[in-house]
């Protein structure tokens, strides 16, 4: 899988390249700022690009803006945005009206190599990866007549993993249960929350997130 990396800290950039190379990715280009990233993504058309959110010249939200440009211009290129802290607002801004090929992760996650690599693979394959912290915050929101109260603890876990962008397979692996069990939970959750049932993982993520955000 071909990857482009944008990160202004040379140290971290080098670490990321080493990690991804170790894991069998092909890092085709590295960029130090958003302009550079856009140029290299257009040139290389990678499967996925990974970008820091805050980069020169203004050190504000260059990464988010570049990610949206790439998503609009080259929908087949997956985009993962890394940040030192995560905000729901940024996550939804990045998702727009589709959860396909997009990721938004806390920078610290890179040290958890398996989970990080899994997220990169998912996004490169058109899936999504939303940081557990964002999902945790969405789930923990106070709601009036909270429909989430009807869920069992296990169902809440499954809902959270769905929101992160994991497939049934991924959820089953994470919870060490069978695929069948996961399917049952999913059907139950969709019933309780009155969400339209569907098997498409990508659309399922967006439906769950929109529900959680409402």
């Amino acid at each position: 899988m071909r990857v482009v990396i944008a990160e202004d800290s040379a140290l971290l950039r080098a670490g990321l390249v080493r990690l991804l190379t170790d894991e069998g990715f092909d890092v085709v280009a590295e960029a130090g700022d958003a302009e550079d990233l856009l140029r290299k993504v257009r040139a290389h058309r990678p499967d996925v690009c990974i970008t820091d959110i805050r980069m020169p010249p203004t050190n504000t939200d260059e990464g988010i803006r570049a990610a949206r440009t790439i998503r609009a211009e080259l929908p087949e290129v997956g985009v993962i945005v890394l940040s030192n802290y995560v905000e729901d607002g940024y996550a939804f801004e990045l998702l727009g009206d589709s959860a396909e090929g997009v990721g938004y992760l806390l920078k610290d996650r890179v040290a958890d190599v398996e989970a990080f690599v899994d997220a990169v693979r998912r996004v490169a394959g058109g899936g999504s990866a939303l940081d557990p912290e964002v999902v945790g915050r969405l789930l923990g929101r106070r709601r009036r007549d909270d429909p989430l109260e009807q869920l069992t603890p296990r169902e809440r876990e499954v809902l959270g993993l769905m929101a992160e962008g994991r497939s049934n397979r991924g959820i089953a692996d994470a919870l060490v249960v069978s695929d069948r069990a996961v399917e049952k939970h999913v059907t139950s959750i969709f019933g309780k929350l009155s969400l339209p049932a569907g098997t498409d993982d990508h659309r399922r993520v967006l439906a769950v997130l929109v529900f959680l955000r409402a």
Binding site: S9, L11, L12, G15, N84, D108, A111
Partner: protein, 590 residues
């Protein structure tokens, strides 16, 4: 006031003299047989004389300090004298001839002097010279050479006739008319200019005077022009009568103008005191009362205040700074109370001319009320200053937080993430490639050292640990040892000081040393922190290029706010080329 008491009977005496003279003049004219149209001198003569003396005496009594009143009285008497030409008695007729042009000359004098009563400029003095120095001598020349008998008018004899010289007399009269005509036209121009330059308060007073004076002077011009061109007698007569009637209206216009211009000083002060006594203490009451008392709608009241930040200065009632630079046509008069200047009034310069001392008298009467408002204005100014300083402190705190966040984000946080990554990579290599793992671990240890060093620096920027732990002396010593130029540490307090004082003193030294390193191009600097009279005095000197501007940078501004928050004072002396001294005085109870 003793002068006032002596004045009244004298004025009453003058009034009697004027009345008697007028009656006498009437009697003399009635018995005269040479005046052509007898009713003109009979009725208009005394009437005009009386109107001038009467209104003049009233103005004199109301405003003894103003010379317009005496000038009007003088015109009245001069007019009565000039009317003596209509009498039959040789000696009176002769005196009348001598005085013929006098009332007009004094009228011009009064027009020039209105409303102050004084003639100031060289140009105006020039007019007086033409009047008194040229026209009157010409009249004298006319009188000593003019023989009325030559006119076959049945006039009495001219007792002052020295030698009959018709040519000289005619020339004298023609010259008089020509000079008078030119002078009056120039006067019209001077007065028009004065009108344009007048302030709103003065125009009100000038309007009636200029109207009546203008009409009279206009008719005078026509008369003089007629003299020069020898019009026919009837036309000349009509113009003469019209001129005299207009002349009779002049004193009343002057009186209206004079009374309109300002109240008399005594009544203005009385009214002011009454209003201030009844005042409800609302903002603007004092200003309105003073403006009314002085007849100055554009009056500006400024209060002298002393502010911790801005120092001594003047503010308006809202506490906003006032610039004491005079604008054209206005002057500032200080208001004093018990020997202190508590404020200042800006008023038109004409007011001071017209009624010298009036502003000071009114100011003295209002000084106590002004002091009262001054304290309120000072309070408002202080609140405004505090508000600004507080806003700056909040802003500085925000900027500091942004800087800290950025430093953390770009520094330690990135390093720690990279470190976690390295450790994870090392872990995965431990078995397959122990040498690579060891290299990664060495790298990680180095990163960790960098990260802790950065955190330490950052923490010191927020609040130096040594200051908390060991106090100001060791903390200042640490600053000095890290400076880019040799810094000599002088006296330092041996004991611990209250934490806010220590912190402020520390940051004064820290900012000063940072500035020395960055801008001063100094070879040497010194620091002292001493306790003097219940104050902690921090002083940092360098021998650099000087020229530091406390208003330019945010650093010094922020320091000044920090020091002001403790009721202290920050002073920067930085003459170009003369090094920089930063001195902070912080109150610190012993």
């Amino acid at each position: 006031m003793a002068g006032m008491r002596a004045l009244r009977p004298a004025l009453a005496g003058l009034a009697l003299v004027a009345a008697a003279s007028g009656v006498l003049l009437m009697a003399l004219v009635m018995t005269s047989d040479h005046a052509g149209d007898r009713w003109i001198p009979l009725v208009l003569g005394p009437l005009i004389g009386w109107s001038f003396t009467g209104t003049g005496l009233y103005a004199w009594a109301r405003r003894p300090e103003n010379r317009i009143g005496p000038l009007m009285v003088a015109i009245g008497f001069a007019w009565l004298l000039a009317e003596l030409t209509s009498t039959d008695v040789d000696v009176l007729h002769s005196v009348g001839l001598l005085a013929e042009t006098l009332p007009w000359t004094i009228l011009v004098h009064m027009l020039l002097a209105f409303p102050s009563g004084r003639v100031r400029s060289r140009l105006e003095r020039g007019f007086l010279f033409i009047g008194y120095g040229i026209l009157l001598p010409l009249q004298l020349l006319f009188v000593v050479t003019f023989d009325p008998l030559s006119q076959r008018c049945g006039c009495p004899e001219n007792l002052f006739l020295v030698a009959r010289a018709d040519g000289v007399a005619d020339a004298a009269q023609a010259t008089q008319s020509a000079v008078g005509l030119a002078g009056v036209l120039a006067l019209a121009w001077v007065i028009a200019r004065r009108w344009r330059e007048a302030q709103a308060g003065d125009r009100r007073a000038l309007r009636p005077v200029l109207l009546a004076g203008g009409v009279t002077v206009g008719l005078l011009v026509v008369t003089l022009a007629a003299d020069l061109t020898s019009l026919n007698d009837t036309a000349e007569e009509v113009i003469d009568v019209a001129g005299e009637i207009a002349m009779g209206a002049v004193p009343f216009a002057f009186l209206v103008g004079l009374l309109r211009s300002r109240l008399s000083r005594a009544s203005a002060v009385a009214a002011l005191i009454e209003r201030l006594g009844a005042g409800d203490g609302r903002r603007g009451t004092l200003h309105q009362a003073l403006a009314d008392a002085l007849g100055e709608p554009d009056l500006v009241v400024a209060y002298r205040v002393s502010l911790p930040d801005a120092g001594e200065g003047y503010v308006d009632a809202d506490g906003a700074p006032v610039d004491l630079a005079p604008t054209p046509g206005t002057v500032w008069t200080p208001v004093e109370l018990e020997g202190r200047t508590v404020g200042a009034l800006r008023h038109s310069a004409a007011l001071e001319d017209e009624d010298p001392g009036a502003v000071r008298t009114v100011a003295a009467a209002a000084a106590l009320a002004l002091e009262n408002e001054r304290l309120q204005a000072e309070l408002r100014a202080r609140i405004e200053e505090l508000r600004r300083s507080r806003a700056r402190l909040v802003e500085a705190a925000d900027a500091e937080r942004r800087r800290l966040e950025r430093d953390l984000h770009d520094g330690a946080q990135q390093r720690l993430v990279a470190l976690a990554l390295n450790l994870r990579l090392a872990r995965s290599r431990v078995e397959k490639d122990p040498a690579a793992a060891a290299e990664l671990l060495d790298e990680s240890r180095e990163e960790l050292a960098h990260a802790t060093a950065e955190l330490r620096e950052l923490a010191r920027g927020i609040h130096p640990a040594i200051l908390t732990e060991r106090g100001l002396g060791p903390a200042v010593g640490a600053l000095a040892s890290r400076a880019g130029v040799p810094v000599e540490v002088g006296a330092l307090p041996g004991e611990r000081l209250p934490a806010p004082i220590e912190a402020a003193a520390y940051f004064v030294v820290s900012e000063a040393i940072t500035n020395v390193d960055r801008y001063a191009r100094a070879a040497h600097a010194s620091v002292t922190v001493e306790r003097v009279n219940g104050h902690v005095v921090v002083e940092v000197r360098d021998d650099g290029v000087g020229g530091a501007d406390p208003a330019a940078g945010t650093g010094l501004r922020g320091l000044a706010d920090r020091v002001a928050a403790l009721d202290g004072r920050l002073e920067v002396r930085s003459p170009a080329g003369g090094g920089t001294t930063l001195r902070a005085e912080l109150p610190c109870g012993s």
